[in-house]
Amino acid sequence: MWERSCPAHRPSAPAAAAADSSEVMRRWQGSWRRRWATVAAAAALVGAPLAVVGPARAALADPAADQDALVDADVAPAIAQADHQSAQLVFAHRDAGGAVTISTATVDSAAEGHAVLAVAGASGTLEAVSVDSPVTLVPDAPIEPDPGPGGPGGDVSADAVSNDFYRSLQWALDTIPFEDAADRRRQRCHRGRARHRRGHRPPRSGGQPVAAAPALPA
């Protein structure tokens, strides 16, 4: 538990009392709303996580959490430094029904941090507390120079990797024609150009024959 990991910063009685004050609650809830407003104002999604939706569900596991592991090791230092640099805390609450709620609170002082933490802990549903951290999409990767025409990551590699992969999937799906006539013409032209330019064609991986689809179980 946080108090155990950093006893020097155990919330004091005055801080706990302050936790009940409307000012603390107002700031906490206000910062929570600001965070979501910021997210709502963002114009577009970078797209992750993407969730593929389906029917399978499993029973909810026991939501019991180890109270000693609630607070990240970096929370106490962040609160201690909050007098100089505000910190954004993130809370995960799990109610008796198993529902999880993620919320945040920006604290501008160590005292406020202790108070907010005390309020969260008093809820009886707190599962984890962390300091918020930046995250980015995994950007387009730098890739090694492509020795052939088409440039790095161009159609040559796409043809060699993606299409074989999709052909393999097509074998499994056995329902949708992978290539239409335009695709085949385009690929013939592409391969012809590639041979003409550099005298060879890229090796093909072990794609499965589309026509050899096995019967799948009903």
């Binding site: 970078v46 969730a51 930046p134 387009d140």
Partner: protein
């Protein structure tokens, strides 16, 4: 309605709601590319077909148009997706730090039957070496970390070679194509509606789509069973045995389906009248 094979059955529809319940427009392009790899419909004008074209994508916005954000929003997005019917979550994102709240969100999703995939990272290094950061949430327990395969070896392209950009680590579970992936892109970012990208961000949706296919074959599978089907049938690559680039190997969706037997057929006769109405969205 024609009979649909289990593989073609559409999953839940109408998932077009963001974490905030507002805007899910993709102002960056990365998410559209990833989504296209998973579920682009066959026969569209882009000539891109997703690896699981029968799946429905539930878009959850957690990062800004610049591609950055906060782990609190990622955690909230995971919880939201799990609570709104997701079976598979693709996380083509990462951070060098983890926290307990992210862990809680991941565990909430996993225990609710969701399989999570995350990009191993594009560090081009081996975790453990100086300056090579662990990528979270890929390194989380109960998250399948996906590395990238596909690289030029000399002048020849080897689809099973470890991509030079992929982060190699003990937490990597699977490998998938991530080099030169051709997929959909927002029209306001690419006039053709398509773009080619490389990275473990592009490898991850291939694995997520494979999980969707396995689940469509047998929706009763638990996340552990889906993961076991994928890792147990992965094609050994890069080096003999498990390795830090592809973990158990490169995904093989067809073999994974074979490893996950379909649900036992019902013993009662099928109805001869009109099919029942579709289940209400969850």
């Amino acid at each position: 309605m024609a009979n649909l094979s289990p593989l073609r059955r559409h999953f839940l529809h109408d998932g077009n709601t963001a974490v905030t319940g507002t805007d899910v427009e993709d102002g960056h392009g990365h998410g559209t590319h990833v989504a296209g790899t998973i579920a682009a419909a066959a026969g569209n004008l882009t000539h891109v077909t997703g690896a699981a074209p029968g799946a429905t994508v539930l878009s959850v916005k957690v990062l800004s148009d610049s591609g950055s954000g906060w782990m609190s929003d990622v955690a909230a997005g995971i919880v939201w997706a799990a609570d709104n019917g997701a079976d598979v979550i693709n996380l083509s994102l990462g951070s060098s730090s983890s926290d307990g709240v992210l862990h809680s969100a991941v565990e909430h999703a996993y225990t609710n039957g969701v399989v999570l995939f995350a990009a191993a990272g594009n560090g081009g290094c081996t975790v453990g070496d100086a300056g090579c950061a662990t990528n979270w949430p890929a390194a989380e327990d109960h998250v399948v970390a996906v590395g990238s395969v596909g690289a030029y070896v000399g002048v020849a392209f080897d689809p099973d070679a470890c991509s030079t950009f992929t982060t190699r680590a003990a937490y990597v579970d699977l490998g998938a194509p991530g080099f030169g992936i051709y997929s959909t892109y927002p029209l306001n970012r690419a006039a053709s509606g398509v773009a080619t990208s490389s990275g473990t961000s592009m490898a991850t949706p291939h694995a997520a789509a494979a999980a969707a296919i396995v689940l469509s074959h047998d929706p009763s599978l638990t996340p552990a069973e889906v993961i076991a089907a994928l890792t147990g049938t992965a094609r050994d690559a890069v080096t003999p045995g498990p390795d830090t680039c592809t973990g158990s190997g490169v995904i093989d969706p067809l073999a994974a389906i074979g490893a996950a037997p379909p649900t036992t057929a019902p013993t009662t006769a099928p109805p001869t009248t009109a099919p029942p109405p579709p289940a209400a969205p969850r």
